[in-house]
Symmetry: C2
């Protein structure tokens, strides 16, 4: 399957680390040293999970090599929904007046985007659809407690769109060579390490160390597994796009894999943790870097827990 | 694909119509006449979307013809999540200590269960999995406003589990002959007719008439489409299991289809609207009725909007 078009949208409002000094008591340097985050984006009051996704699609639509009405599957990937009934996918169907499409929204926390790609793969295998739109959008600031010293400063908002079809439409397209996900609800502190309970205080992250241990283990394992399955080696990989939760996690993974810094793409410094939108946003921001023949691997880890990887070639 | 086992769980707490007289001002008779609902179940304070699903799986597990650890895909279907990070699927993975499984949770409102079955179909088509557990669970009373005169009295809580595999395990198994879903975000008042916005007051249903018009249209269309595709006629159908939102909607569908009352299975009188869990619960409650050779069709409609149908044979 091919990625025909990619876009992302970031809210204009920038929240620098200095903002948190009076909010949760953490200094600019403390936050930067512990997380690698310098600033993050925050949606305006007029924005939400759905409108950010709409903006991302609006950015893409002018370049789409087919009509948006040709889309026959819309998947909204988010753990920070605006509406769980008129979901992210249904909102996009509504705003772009797309008829005869399947619409679902999916959460597997920060893995939701990669899980959504795997669901597309399944729909392609049934021959029920030809063209899918996967939108990852997170409105973390709608659910986080900015005064929380453990996690208030970590989160950012943003959205990305991936138009995926069975067919290649241009030489700019990327091919998805493989995708795989794994649920990890059975390891570590899984379901209590990161929580977003809408009726119980929103986002909480009481067990950061447990997240660190499992994220560094399973993001490396996900890459190694997908490379092995495809008879590839880490040296074949030109770029790694890891989930952007913490620069220390990313650096740990980089060292374990033994790859150069230039190969690991980063957005966390400017965007914080944008949830399941973090890898597609990072990919979209770096499109100018990718050359014909490049091999790019996504690796993600989510609360709950969950992991996944995707292998893409230019 | 085959349904190897089905179960459901209902909270013990019964809320009769008489409860609402002092809560939202509606009388027992008014509610019964307008909705067909006599009573509904309400989760205890110690229960939530995840624990109800766990109870449903606990009821099933003794009869499961394979180890629950053989499950390689868990899908949680819900629009009323307890936690969007440690999702319904991840919680079930955790509680039953299931390793090496994919875990995702899905919302397409009251269609979520049928959408989940279609996702299973896709995973089967990729040959990535052999056995799936689909859990539908709704904790409507965690998000509704019982004082709301439009919808406070409509909702009930409950959960159901479906164990699905590529293989038939016994003569008690059902075969899923076909499943299809359609997003309807582009018709009528779709994304504003029913809402569950966790940060904006939970469940609201400001356009009940628009829901009625589209539910009666698309639940009939979904049945007719799936029968036509499978070269079947409505007279071939032994039982219809419609989404249980309102007895007037169900009766309208029955008359449009021209089928006898005995063929249309009902749980709304005792359970209210149990969201996407309504059709699997109703199916589970009526297992004793189904004879060898019976053809059963599910038809659903959800806020957002969305629709779907599933054809099952005994």
């Amino acid at each position: 399957m091919y990625i025909n078009l990619i876009s992302h949208y970031l809210p204009q409002q920038i929240i620098p680390n200095s903002y948190f000094k009076e909010v949760n008591g953490l200094s600019e340097e403390w936050i930067l040293n512990r997380t690698g985050i310098k600033e993050r984006r925050k949606a305006l009051k007029s924005e939400n999970t759905n409108t950010m996704a709409e903006e991302a699609v609006n950015i893409a639509i002018k370049k789409l090599p087919y009509s948006i009405n040709d889309i026959d599957l819309i998947i909204g990937a988010t753990y920070s929904p605006y509406d769980t009934v008129g979901t992210l996918a249904h909102y996009i169907q509504n705003q772009f007046n797309i008829s005869d499409t399947k619409s679902i929204s999916v959460s597997s926390a920060c893995s939701s985007f990669i899980n959504s790609i795997e669901i597309v793969e399944g729909y392609f295998a049934t021959n029920k659809i030809e063209k899918a739109l996967v939108i990852a959008s997170e409105h973390n600031t709608a659910y986080h407690n900015k005064m929380d010293m453990q996690a208030g400063h970590l989160w950012g908002d943003g959205a990305a769109s991936f138009f995926i079809s069975k067919k290649k439409f241009s030489d700019k397209d990327f091919q998805i060579l493989d995708v795989n996900t794994t649920g990890l609800g059975n390891v570590g502190k899984s379901i209590e390490a990161v929580m977003l309970r809408p009726n119980y205080g929103g986002i909480k992250m009481p067990f950061g160390k447990d997240v660190f241990i499992h994220a560094t283990r399973y993001m490396v394992k996900s890459i190694n597994d997908i490379l092995l399955k495809n008879k590839l080696n880490i040296n074949d990989v030109d770029y790694i796009i890891p989930h952007q939760a913490n620069l220390k996690i990313i650096e740990n993974i980089r060292v374990q894999l033994g790859v150069e810094k230039e190969k690991v793409l980063i957005s966390i410094d400017k965007l914080g943790n944008t949830g399941c939108a973090s890898t597609p946003i990072t990919f979209s921001q770096n499109l100018h870097k990718f050359k014909k023949g490049d091999l790019i691997v996504f690796t993600v880890f989510g609360g709950g827990y969950s992991s996944g990887a995707m292998l893409v070639s230019k």
